[in-house]
């Protein structure tokens, strides 16, 4: 899949899935503005890619960075909302979660994606474009946890994507989500490092007998962003090795 001449914004590009997506878009020929609160990772060459450190829950900062990304190349084609947090220790059931944690998880995982979409879509309507939001299987079904703020935010992201798909379809703006299952990322690795049998259990319970990789998720995102998916909008593509099919 080629993205030559396409200009992309990727949030959450400081590590994990977002970083993989940014690198793969660059490799496929896109120009990329990578956004994260974290410092620029070494994998993202400064010459090849604009890196903007900012808090995606700051609306003014998001608006400014989207405008700059658009101005740099005179167009905006692809948006990837991959910024997100999974606070396994603090995000519990809604009774047990502190209100501040609930609000912050909703802000980062849902509202920030709305900010990026809100600022970007008017700039994409000139000639069409595509958005992909990295949601989660937890947004389609309960997460084993509980981790209520996370799953509510991801369900909200899925609903937001469908709203964009319907409203901006006539402007040739497509919107889809990718819903990863158990993916080996820096967000979840410490959990497995602390509990190796848990990792083994996850592998064994996944029908395809392995954990997912950031590459698996990135490949699905690039497909949905590309012209190969030109008639696909408003869908949720589950990338989980068959995890959602099985009953435990």
């Amino acid at each position: 899949m080629t993205f030559h001449g396409h200009n992309a914004i990727v949030t959450g590009a400081g590590g994990g899935m977002g970083l993989r997506i940014a690198v793969d878009l660059l490799t496929a020929g896109a120009t990329v503005t990578a956004i994260d609160l974290k410092p620029r990772p070494a994998d993202l060459d400064e010459a090849a890619c604009t890196y903007e450190r900012l808090d995606v829950t700051d609306y003014d900062a998001v608006q400014a960075v989207v405008r700059r990304a658009h101005q740099r190349h005179g167009r905006l084609d692809c948006i990837v909302n991959a910024a997100g947090v999974g606070w396994f220790d603090r995000d519990r059931s809604l009774v047990d979660t502190e209100l501040g944690v609930w609000e912050r998880v909703l802000d980062i995982n849902l509202t920030a994606a709305m900010y990026v979409s809100r600022c970007s879509i008017p700039l994409m309507r000139e000639h069409g474009g595509a958005l992909v939001h990295v949601a989660s299987v937890a947004g389609l079904r309960n997460s084993d946890g509980p981790m209520d703020a996370y799953q509510v935010a991801k369900a909200g992201l899925i609903s937001m994507s469908r709203a964009i798909a319907l409203t901006y379809g006539p402007d040739h703006v497509r919107s889809n989500t990718v819903c990863p299952g158990a993916i080996l990322t820096p967000m979840i690795e410490p959990l497995y490092d602390a509990d190796p049998p848990r990792r083994h259990r996850m592998e064994q319970r996944t029908p395809l007998r392995r954990l997912g990789t950031p590459h698996d998720v990135s490949a699905a995102c690039l497909f949905l962003l590309s012209d190969q998916a030109s008639f696909i909008t408003g869908v949720d593509l589950v990338v989980d090795g068959g995890w959602m099919l099985a009953l435990s």
Binding site: M1, T2, R162, A165, L166, G169, P170, H172, R174, P207, L208, R209, R210, G212, T213, D216, A219, A220, F223, D227, Q228, A229, S230, F231, I232, T233, G234, V235, L237, V238, V239, D240, G241, G242, M244, L245, A246
Partner: protein
């Protein structure tokens, strides 16, 4: 979409595509040929099959036609076996299907059986037929061409068809669990309104009315089902199984207009 933009994801792979002499099946074959695959095409019309083979060869692909009615288990098995001429089956695209419109009141048991035997029992025959070779090769990819009709929506006159398409998705989910240990994935594509020969025959005003109901404001092209099947058949989708991708330009998103 032009074949020029198709990524070469299937170099050296061999795909069996059922119902590939026209419509969506032919569109899938063209995309797979452009992606570098060797092709075994099936259908009931031999002269249309030979034309399809010539079209694939013109794109630069190796292709072979195998006449098969999906109701005939031996013919379906022979089509899968024909992949051996190219080194054996890597990919099955189960696309063959029919959609004769009939009200439930008019429908006879023969009408019901014809559609079920072709669409749903044919799917079982095709999937089962490719398992020995795929297991021996250490894996494979199966893509079922389902529909939004029956799975997400209804359509008067297509109750039997809709039942087979919902049945294909149900079959796929259990098959995904059974086949995962062998490294075989199985997924579905659910086309919405695609500009095939049959649909084009409805005429301009009818098509314009359909386009108005689709958020992307146009019908899909057979090649757009092809590129979705291509993604699912490629290494890029190795962690995806048991899933169904709707390709409908957003047609199933809205509530009906008030």
């Amino acid at each position: 979409m032009s074949q020029a933009g198709v990524p070469a994801l299937l170099g050296g792979k061999t795909a069996v595509i059922t119902g590939a002499t026209r419509g969506i099946g032919l569109g899938i074959a063209e995309v797979f040929a452009a992606a570098g695959a060797n092709l075994v095409l099936t259908g009931r019309d031999t002269s249309a099959g030979q034309r399809a083979v010539a079209a694939m060869e013109a794109i630069g692909a190796k292709a072979w036609f195998c006449a098969a009615d999906m109701r005939d288990q031996a013919a379906v098995q022979a089509a899968v076996a024909a992949a051996e001429r190219f080194g054996g089956i890597d990919i099955l695209v189960q696309n063959a299907g029919m959609y004769p419109e009939l009200s439930i009141e008019q429908m006879t048991s023969d009408d019901w059986d014809l559609v079920h035997q072709t669409n749903l029992r044919g799917t079982f025959f095709a999937v089962q037929a490719c398992l020995p070779a795929m297991r021996a090769r250490g894996g494979g990819r199966i893509v079922l061409i389902s529909s939004i009709t029956g799975v997400r929506t209804g359509f008067p006159g297509l109750a039997h068809y809709g039942a087979t398409k919902a049945g294909m998705n149900g079959f796929m989910r259990s098959a995904a669990l059974e086949l995962a240990p062998y490294g075989i994935t199985i997924n579905a594509v659910e086309p919405g309104s695609i500009r095939t020969e049959g649909l084009a025959a409805l005429g301009g005003p009818a098509i314009a009315a359909m386009e108005e109901c689709i958020p992307l404001r146009r019908l899909g092209q057979p090649a757009e089902i092809g590129t979705t099947a291509l993604f699912l058949a490629s290494d890029l989708a190795s962690y995806i199984t048991g899933q169904s991708i709707v390709v409908d330009g957003g047609q199933t998103l809205p509530e009906i207009k008030q």
